[in-house]
């Protein structure tokens, strides 16, 4: 390293690109990303909306809004409510279905110089499999994320809470397509380690977590729920401690690479997730209230890694010392 402070681990200087002292690229199973900062599904639209606010080509990966086999209108408003340091949402997987996605959104996403990971949800195993069949044909797609954790849709959620169903689904999906597979887990379970092990046993390349935490908001004067769907998912800084805990537990329980999600808003947050055991992160709610936040994080990441004595991300991943 140019500044000569690379005495950490056995980092191989020959691996480093000569222009940058810190290598931001990460390898998650079969998934290779140019950097570990991704944007989370459902919090970045179909990316084109962000074109003028963010240099999309700098992102390590883009996850467009979850797609389903058939178009879904989504839930009735109100769909979001701000809560202390966070927000509740019950969007209800509003999307135009896979056909419309392939026709209207994929060409643009494919034109971007950033990895594309498509998030899918199905009510049945068969639905997941047929979605994968359609996606496998698309060269532009670098990976898929199985959204088995959306709290706003009945039917699909069992895959995320029942370990046996989860393992079976991942196994079948793995057989159905050759793309790298990310299993996105919900925090709304008794045992994160059990679910993470199930996803790993099914053969996923990566585990991402967490999706939103189930919650509610009430107007007591009108005795009405604030969300049209009554219950929704909590996201934002409020859930960061829950997410850190979940990432830590999953990292302890498995050897599968992990993408940390939940309340990440600053560079410090990102570094905390690395130390807890995440090899990459997804930014969610922060995109809503600080649209250029991903760029600020990317700007500071090399220096933060260098400060930690790391020459690549892997050097800090899972380095938490608990005693």
């Amino acid at each position: 390293m140019a500044d000569g402070n690379s005495n950490h681990g056995n980092s191989n200087q020959a691996d480093l690109p000569c222009s940058s002292p810190v290598d931001l690229s990460v390898t998650l199973g079969r998934l290779q990303l140019k950097n570990p900062v991704l944007v989370a599904s459902g919090t970045f639209g179909y990316a084109r909306e962000m074109e003028s606010l963010v240099d999309l080509s700098r992102l390590g990966g883009i996850l467009p809004k979850t797609i389903t086999a058939e178009p879904r209108a989504g839930n009735a408003p109100w769909r979001t409510v701000e809560t202390a340091s966070g927000m509740l949402n019950a969007i209800g997987l509003d999307n135009d279905g896979i056909e419309a996605f392939l026709a209207n959104h994929l060409p643009y996403l494919a034109s971007l110089d950033s990895s594309l990971i498509v998030s899918i949800a199905g009510r049945t195993q068969q639905e997941f499999v047929s979605l994968l069949a359609q996606l496998s044909e698309q060269e532009a797609i670098d990976g898929v994320e199985l959204n088995i954790s959306c709290p706003n849709v009945s039917g699909g959620v069992d895959f995320g809470t029942d370990p046996a169903l989860c393992e079976r689904l991942v196994t079948v999906c793995r057989q159905a397509c050759c793309l790298p597979i990310i299993a996105k887990l919900t925090p709304n379970v008794t045992s994160i380690p059990q679910m993470a092990k199930a996803a790993e046993a099914g053969g996923c390349d990566v585990i991402s977590l967490i999706n939103t935490c189930q919650g509610m908001a009430i107007d007591w004067r009108r005795r009405r729920p604030l969300l049209g769907n009554v219950m929704g998912g909590l996201s934002g800084p409020a859930i960061k401690p829950i997410a850190l805990r979940a990432v830590y537990q999953a990292a302890q329980a498995t050897r599968t690479p992990i993408i940390g999600i939940g309340g990440i808003a600053t560079l410090d947050d990102v570094m905390e997730f690395f130390v807890a055991g995440a090899s990459a992160v997804q930014l969610g709610t922060v995109n809503f209230y600080n649209p250029a936040g991903s760029m600020t994080i990317l700007d500071g990441l090399p220096a933060a890694l260098a400060e930690a004595g790391a020459s690549r991300v892997a050097d800090v991943v899972g380095t938490l010392e608990t005693r």
Binding site: G45, S52, L53, P77, T80, M87, L112
Partner: protein, 326 residues
């Protein structure tokens, strides 16, 4: 081919087609493109924050870039810099641009009513306070020429209409446009308030050449009653006292902003009178840029069914006939 093996497509076809600006009534002829194509995030300084009426303030922000682009009916998202409480930004319409010594826009005015957390915090902002904002957002009102533009405002729904009125009286130019060749012969604001103390900016509207017709719920100012009653009167009058030499094909059009029941009544009246009507919706928003899908409204589809559309990118201005009112 790009380094990652993907083919870069030309962007030409990706740009959503601009609606032909032909007929005021059959389209919602978007003034801007669908998405937040020109939006940028800015750190700005509060220059002024002055009371205009009861619980109503005018915030003046220094932001030349944004001021040069933003159009009447477009909005911006505002957040307190360095504070995560409230966490989400809040949408506010362009009230007007502020011109610098050379006549170029250097700032923007936002007028807001204190109703909750963010607006309460904003009311306490001193000059010099820092805000984060992103914009310009949304489509904005149609610029289709019209003989008589009738703007209908309920309460704080008046905020988009100073700029729109000025554009149509030919007093000011917004965005990268050229000055309108054919200003409207008449611009009227029907302005309904709860009570006189909430009346804001009337002299500014009048100075802009806008005829102001007021109603109040309690009769303390203007007509005692609903703004729709004022609108009914206006629609019964001829569009303009003296018709322009070559009047545009659209003699009268309505632009409306306010609480939803009012929008719905105005839409119904416009339909009865066969007057084209645009409504600007104030749906609660979390991002303002189209990425969260929380700001949806039911929009009529070509096949007659409805689908949820995002107010922030497909609106906030819609053809009233296209809204499937609840």
């Amino acid at each position: 081919m790009l380094a990652n093996g993907k083919i870069r497509l030309t962007v030409a076809y990706l740009v959503k087609p601009n609606f032909p600006m032909t007929n005021f009534s059959t389209h919602n002829p978007l003034a801007a493109a669908h998405y937040a194509d020109a939006a940028r995030q800015y750190a700005v300084t509060v220059q002024e924050n002055v009371p205009l009426a009861r619980d109503t303030y005018r915030l003046r922000l220094h932001c030349p870039d944004l001021a040069c682009q933003i159009l009447p009916g477009q909005f911006l998202m505002v957040r307190l810099a360095g504070s995560d409480d409230p966490m989400l930004g809040r949408p506010f319409a362009l009230y007007d641009t502020v011109l610098g010594p050379t006549g170029r826009p250097v700032g923007i005015d936002v007028v807001y009513l204190v109703i909750g957390k963010m607006t309460g915090r904003l009311a306490q902002c001193e000059p010099g306070s820092r805000l984060t904002l992103w914009g310009p957002l949304g489509n904005g009102f149609s610029t289709e020429p019209v003989e008589h533009l009738v703007m209908v405002a309920g309460g704080i729904g008046q905020t988009p209409f100073l700029a729109l009125g000025r554009q149509f009286t030919g007093q000011r130019v917004y965005g990268q446009r050229r000055r309108s060749e054919s200003p409207a012969a008449r611009v009227t604001l029907c302005y309904g308030v709860r009570s006189e103390s909430y009346l804001a900016g009337v002299s500014e509207f009048q100075q802009a050449g806008i005829e102001v017709r007021i109603s109040s719920d309690d009769g303390s100012v203007g007509r005692h009653g609903l703004v729709t009653e004022v609108l009914e009167e206006v629609l019964a009058e001829p569009p303009a006292a003296t018709q322009s030499s070559s009047p545009p094909p659209t003699l009268r059009a309505i632009a409306c902003c306010g609480p939803e029941p009012m929008l719905q009544s105005v839409a119904r009246m416009a339909h009865q009178h066969q007057v084209p009507c645009q409504v600007s919706l104030e749906t609660p928003m979390a991002c303002g840029i189209g990425i969260c899908f929380s700001c949806v409204v039911r929009v009529v589809q070509p096949d007659g069914s409805w689908d949820y559309k995002r107010t922030c990118v497909d609106g906030p201005v819609f053809d009233a006939e296209k809204i499937a009112w609840e």
